[in-house]
């Protein structure tokens, strides 16, 4: 059996060797995966952070969270009974994949391997864990006339264990608020790695408050695999006026530790 290196798997979490006869590979030779929150628009085989091969009912790559998501893989299922049923139906050792996907554990023992999520049935089941990135820090924004600017500094972590500092600067147009500053927390469900946050985003923000205020912030950019990286966050702190703004910002990530982004 031939194993080939799929160049689209360079983003780390999909950095695996996949069988050349895999449907997932044939459908996506060198193609960028879609957003983790929905299937690949062309093949329908990409679920959150990994490809799925319906021919054998298995994922050709191991869970990028490894065992951090828990060893009971059935709990990632929308319906626990569905996961149990999937197990009973035996999505287990595949001679097609040889030892690469082999699962020596009997099916009814709660097999511990990294190639089965959502009961190996992502069509009917859900994989709510997926991958995510969280960032938290200080955000300052202000306005001169219609010109709005914002800067942010803080820490970002992801579900692969990467940690780093981030700095964001942005500019656009805005109305209302004179200035605001405060702590912010943001989640990026499409950011599979903190490195995915690095780059330009379109942002929009709306806030209110006089003295103490809060704002809701959102940003979107295209990730390394072609997926859209969304950032949704809130900022709370000092605010001077009601306002909204939209524009473009750019984020820099400075890794502090954890595994290399190549291994995410």
């Amino acid at each position: 059996m031939d194993f080939v290196r799929d160049s689209s798997y360079d983003r780390g979490l999909l950095k695996r060797f996949v069988p050349s006869n895999s449907l997932a590979f044939k459908s996506n030779p060198g193609r960028a995966p879609a957003t983790p929150s929905r299937p690949d628009s062309e093949s329908g085989l990409y679920y959150r952070a990994r490809y799925y091969d319906p021919a054998v009912g298995r994922f050709p790559s191991e869970d990028p969270l490894r065992f951090d998501g828990g060893v009971n893989f059935r709990r990632t299922n929308a319906s626990p009974s569905l996961g149990f049923r999937a197990q009973r139906q035996g999505y287990y050792p595949s001679p097609l994949y040889g030892s690469f996907l082999s699962n020596p554990t009997p099916s009814r023992s709660g097999a511990r391997h990294l190639y089965r999520y959502a009961g190996s049935n992502p069509v009917a089941g859900l994989d709510p864990l997926g991958l995510w990135t969280v960032s938290s820090g200080l955000t300052i924004s202000g306005q001169f006339g219609a010109f709005n600017w914002q800067i942010s500094l803080g820490l970002a972590i992801d579900s692969c264990g990467h940690i780093g500092t981030y700095s964001t600067e942005g500019a656009g147009i805005g109305v209302g608020a004179k200035a605001s500053a405060g702590g912010s927390v943001a989640v990026s469900p499409g950011g599979t790695c903190i490195c995915d946050l690095q780059g330009p985003f379109d942002y929009a923000s709306a806030g209110l408050g006089e003295g103490v205020g809060a704002s809701l912030d959102t940003a979107a950019g295209f990730g390394s695999n072609g997926q859209t990286v969304h950032i949704i966050g809130v900022t709370g702190g000092a605010s001077f006026g009601v306002g909204g703004s939209a524009g473009m910002n750019t984020t820099q990530i400075h890794p502090l530790g954890g595994p290399s982004c190549d291994g995410c």
Partner: protein, 109 residues
């Protein structure tokens, strides 16, 4: 004082905008133009991640340029942003040149 404040704001805005635009330009231009695999013939062998994690290969000169913009340039931009916030909140607009702002009582006379 008004002129000094205006000049300071204009300078900081120019620095901030230049840093932001150059940063975005490097990300997008490298992402669009640079190869995804090493090109030894073109000396594009240094890997760098741009535009949300895309790995591209660049020459030493292009690598240094990106590192400068992403590193030093980013700090300068952040610094300019912080100073803009300080100016906005702590350096009050003195009002129209000439000093006196017409009061309501004066304008009613």
């Amino acid at each position: 004082m008004l002129r000094l404040r205006t000049c300071t704001i204009a300078f900081l805005l120019a620095v901030f905008s230049a840093g932001l635009i150059s940063n975005v330009y490097i990300h997008l231009s490298y992402w669009a133009n640079m190869p995804r695999t090493p090109q030894v013939a073109l000396d594009r062998i240094l890997p760098i991640r741009v535009n949300h994690g895309t790995l591209v290969y660049v020459t030493r000169k292009e690598f240094d340029r990106a590192r400068f913009v992403f590193g030093f340039g980013s700090y300068v931009t952040i610094g300019a942003g912080l100073l803009l916030a300080f100016v906005r909140l702590n350096w009050a607009d003195p009002g129209p040149r000439g000093g006196k702002v017409p009061t309501k009582a004066a304008s009613n006379r």
